[in-house]
């Protein structure tokens, strides 16, 4: 009986025979996929969902790796799910990668501007608050990355990984120089993701003042590293300008230049260009314009600027 059952089921997929005739062909024999790669593909497809958290919750997935997601509108895409950290269910939605720390809002600065420092473009590429997508999950330590999940997923928390440039996917976890996540559910108050958060707190030159117009901040829980290693990411001369153990969004420096994200910290000073990244398309000091702003100008070692910043939602 079982044998019979699979004879039926096997006759699903097809091949192109002579004269273009399309006839079904078996894909399963005796309960096993003839092509194991098709089996793996079907396993991924079976758990298709709006987020890695849903894949975890509804389909019991437990392994880190690539999964298939869909937006509300039905755009299908692939990305990496972290299914293990702090209960898992984290969707990789973006990476900020600095391809040229000397290039100032030049090609490759998709999280600030690729148009040069330009006062007429105060929001620059505007990637933080639009639906443009670019790059690929497997390439996210070699290039900027943003997938539809960035604007589509309804989430509560973020997780951030600093992974050395060009590291291959299977080594991300072990190679990361810093990994942490929030548990405060702060995104619930800001539309459920960074797309909506940055609509509310625009990353735009001149849209606010240092300190008084700082956006949301949340405490973090460390997965790799701690408060001290966070502090060491940034230059010694500015370490008295922030508190470690937080993540903060949309800040302004002394000049009203806007930055998108301060990874691992909450600023108390106004030289945010030395410890916050991303930004608008104009900086009063042109040498600060770029995906990694002016991180390089103060740092004593190269790790932070030579690592991509991977952003996850849950």
């Amino acid at each position: 009986m079982l044998r019979c059952l699979f004879v039926f089921v096997c006759l699903l997929h097809t091949m192109l025979g002579v004269m273009g005739a399309v006839t079904p062909k078996p894909i399963i024999i005796n309960g096993t996929y003839i092509n194991p790669e098709l089996g793996k593909y079907h396993a991924r497809l079976r758990s298709i969902a709006r987020s890695c958290l849903q894949i975890k919750k509804n389909h019991g997935a437990t392994q880190d790796g690539m999964y298939i997601l869909t937006t509300e509108s039905g755009t299908y895409y692939q990305t990496f799910c972290d299914m293990t950290t702090a209960g898992g269910g984290w969707t990789l939605v973006a990476s900020v990668h600095e391809n040229n720390i000397n290039g100032k809002c030049s090609f490759g600065d998709r999280w600030s501007s690729q148009q040069g420092n330009d006062q007429s473009l105060p929001e620059g590429e505007a990637s933080w608050a639009n639906t443009a997508t670019f790059g690929s999950a497997e390439g996210s330590t070699s290039d900027d990355y943003k997938n539809p999940g960035y604007y589509d997923i309804s989430a509560q928390d973020v997780s951030v990984w600093h992974v050395p440039n060009n590291e291959q996917l299977k080594k991300w976890t072990s190679s990361a120089i810093l990994r942490y996540h929030t548990e405060s559910q702060f995104l619930k108050e800001h539309g459920g993701n960074l797309y909506h958060l940055f609509k509310k707190y625009p990353v735009r030159f001149g849209a606010g003042q240092c300190k008084s117009d700082m956006g949301p901040s949340s405490s973090v829980v460390y997965d790799t590293g701690d408060k001290d290693s966070t502090s060491n990411l940034y230059g010694p001369s500015v370490r008295n300008e922030f508190e470690s153990g937080f993540i903060t969004f949309r800040v302004f420096n002394t000049d009203q230049s806007a930055m998108a994200m301060c990874s691992g910290i909450k600023p108390s000073g106004c030289n945010t260009q030395h410890y916050c990244i991303g930004g608008g398309g104009f900086f009063a000091q042109p040498e600060q314009c770029g995906d990694f702003t002016a991180l390089d100008l103060k740092e004593t070692f190269k790790q932070p600027t030579q690592s991509a910043v991977l952003l996850f939602y849950r």
Copy 2:
């Protein structure tokens, strides 16, 4: 009996068990998908076709939204289908998005040139007549977009939507400031799509003269707006240089600078840089070089340059 039937059918997809063994798992129970997102994916896949018109005709689809298409060669891609306007069956194949009206043939000007105004590149990026693709359907109001349908679909008519930048897909129809389509079947005479039309009428500096070498023009039927609102898209001082209620392709201005498309109008004058968009890689007046040419120089309000121009085929 029915119950039995579905027990059989359910055993299709698989999961990765211990030791990497790939065994089938049910996807349907009692006639219902266990995972509704998989059900929606299969529904989209079931209607896969070369165009939205085929999806409409052969599979009876009636809802606007994302569908799955294939090229003749078998490249699969996703795009938005307008299944309601004037009978539906419209495939979104491209969008022209101006990311920086002050950038003159700078980064992001994929429908003119990203190399700066350069006489040695008279066709610029050549996107109007090549098979390069870029962007995504959901991001097409935030970035330039071109999918394989642009060169693959065999069509008769075009539809054009002017949608405010960064508008989300579900609000495109209601937010559009102008929507119209042709019913003249003019594409039949020009190879069935814009790729072939522009092979015949190259968008190349110096390849022709104003008026005498104007490419195809077709009258249009309005879906949002009318002749007056079309006229109001452009600067008051040039409104006597065109007639509303048309769409025109490949024109030259006084300087023999080439433009690809005059949306909503048929030019009678030669300052086409103020009411036609797209272009080659060289303009005799450098300030005209860009995806949106010199629209900004004459306009009295910002709507046209702050809206993406979405192109559909049927």
Copy 3:
């Protein structure tokens, strides 16, 4: 009995009924796909594999065209398989396309640098040895292309096609001005693909000397053209600087400027910028910086610089 069988199998895919209910719908009637495009898609999916060679070996595919591949991590992608040349099984993994021979490490030079000639970026984009991907298979004669197979596939040999720019996929074979492949299995010694080869032999300014630090070279077998037509690709004044009938990777010129690939030849001289392509982000002579280096400066006809270089693995 057969009829009965297909009644069962047919009830797989689904449609979105009223109220969003997702119920299965037949996809096959009497052993034939209702939608032939779905049949073709399933045929492609049935043979999903890590490389075109596996598709050929394990699934008996014999036709050139688009297939579906997967990386080890489970990133799915589409590319062109050459299933006929010298036994077939060749996977298209990349194309080097020169969009602007006058642009020197400008936008579009993804196989050298898009940042301008810059000594602080000796590896430029680093595309030869990272996991960034870009472009599309069908667009690979109109734009640079690199898919996940470039770094994921474990191969032994390469095949190279020089195809005129903007040629459509179905005409690639007949239009190619030069086609050849290796049979030496040289990639086995270098990690199984060019990604690993270039990790070992970095394409970096100053990382070595002309001649003494030349990377791997292999003899080739011609599929279109011969040693003479290879020689004619390059300028007459430099033809005494190389031997035809080879392919060579990672060379330096007199100035220690690095190039990635010398197509069809093995250099014996040091003006490699005139017959080798790709490169790092800095050239001692700025006019040599670009995907096609200084090919233009010495050539007598335009074919080589107006053809894309397609790279296949087997």
